[in-house]
Symmetry: C2
Subunit: 262 residues, 2 copies
Amino acid sequence: MNDDAASTPTAGDDSDHEFVVVVVEPETPGNVGTIARAMKNFGIYDLRLVNPPPLDPDGEAYGFAGHAREDVLPNATETTLEEVVEEFHTIGTTAVSHEDSTRHVRYPFKTPAEVADSLESVKTKTALVFGREGTGLDNEELGMLDEVCCIPADHRYPVLNLGQAATILMYELRRFTVGEIQLPDVERERASEAEIDVVYRFFDDLLDAIDYREHKRVKTSQMMRRLVGRAHPTEREAATLTGVLRRAAEQVRNPERFRDDD
Amino acid sequence: MNDDAASTPTAGDDSDHEFVVVVVEPETPGNVGTIARAMKNFGIYDLRLVNPPPLDPDGEAYGFAGHAREDVLPNATETTLEEVVEEFHTIGTTAVSHEDSTRHVRYPFKTPAEVADSLESVKTKTALVFGREGTGLDNEELGMLDEVCCIPADHRYPVLNLGQAATILMYELRRFTVGEIQLPDVERERASEAEIDVVYRFFDDLLDAIDYREHKRVKTSQMMRRLVGRAHPTEREAATLTGVLRRAAEQVRNPERFRDDD
């Protein structure tokens, strides 16, 4: 563990938000590693641990951390919940909302999606605080925090594993922490309307070539437009489809020529 | 492992959708346990495994499964990808979208949220297919599936752990699989407008009691309404606040009586 937090990479491209992850008294190093991995997956690099177990570089924490073993884990620092509360806007996560409206403490909770939406309008340094594997955060600890997040799950077994709960919350907050994702921009890769119109033109031409019943043409043409439009074809897909339709119409109109080709 | 899949509990309260989880050649029993736990958290009970490792009841699979050790894991069945493809609408998950629009195969992908939205309009039996820890699903396997889901993550390290990826996809699909969640209905627990109006009335009365400047009263009263309204107080919170305001106004008006009480 390294006490020089200043050496951690920046946490994301959103300068209005800064996130750290705090794990209070994790019992198993493997869970720390799992959380570190999810942090790197979603662009959070600053991990702070309250009373952690030893994290052996040859042990489970590093084994479960994937590439986060290169930066998140070795740069993790030790802290106390008091220090975290003083420095950050704090969001604790708990599996069950212990309280209902007839009690005072820690109500209401927010779901992960609600936490994300509520952070839209504020500029803040936020700590995502997770508790022990077995018992989570106790009521006194929850009482120190600003907000409580509960992940909605099946009432028959709502208790998520620590690492899985942390993963879901960070996934929901990715809009603040992840600058560039790994996926291509689908919108950008969609064929242009002009290219898609060519598909429709050759489809209509094929209807013409096969002497499709006049009174059904408009509806069938519309059906094709709806179907292709819904599928958001890529440029290549539109071109391929155009090619098929054009060739089919040509062969219908000039069967002899194509028969000669064989 | 038990081959009698008919004994598994029903998968959810949404009769239009039925989900199974398929894991292809998982290498470590612990990951099977982690996935089983997330399944039970999100109301999916039917786990099918392609060429799994032995799942020792005293080993990691059961150790990581939480309460899913009682049903999901012991009821898991063995299958082949061919059988799955024949029986279900299949959604594979992969960390990276191998293909771009200049190639034909397996494009476009969907994000977990897009998968959920697209399932809204169809009635289907769906298999969520996950691959090996190290290499995921290979191209031939992806080519057998109907849809490919990619979880958007930081481009610097987009590869999620198998169990974490499965958890996120099931979390996003919970609207189809989770009937009743563990969380109280916040809307239902909000105080009635009449109860909240009592808070405002006693707040205004307190302004009166403390001789609050006449020309500032309207704005301050409005401020209180906006603040409390935004907080969606519970019945108990509204009653408590009313009690405090009322008592404060009384003490301001009759200081002697309360001083006598001491």
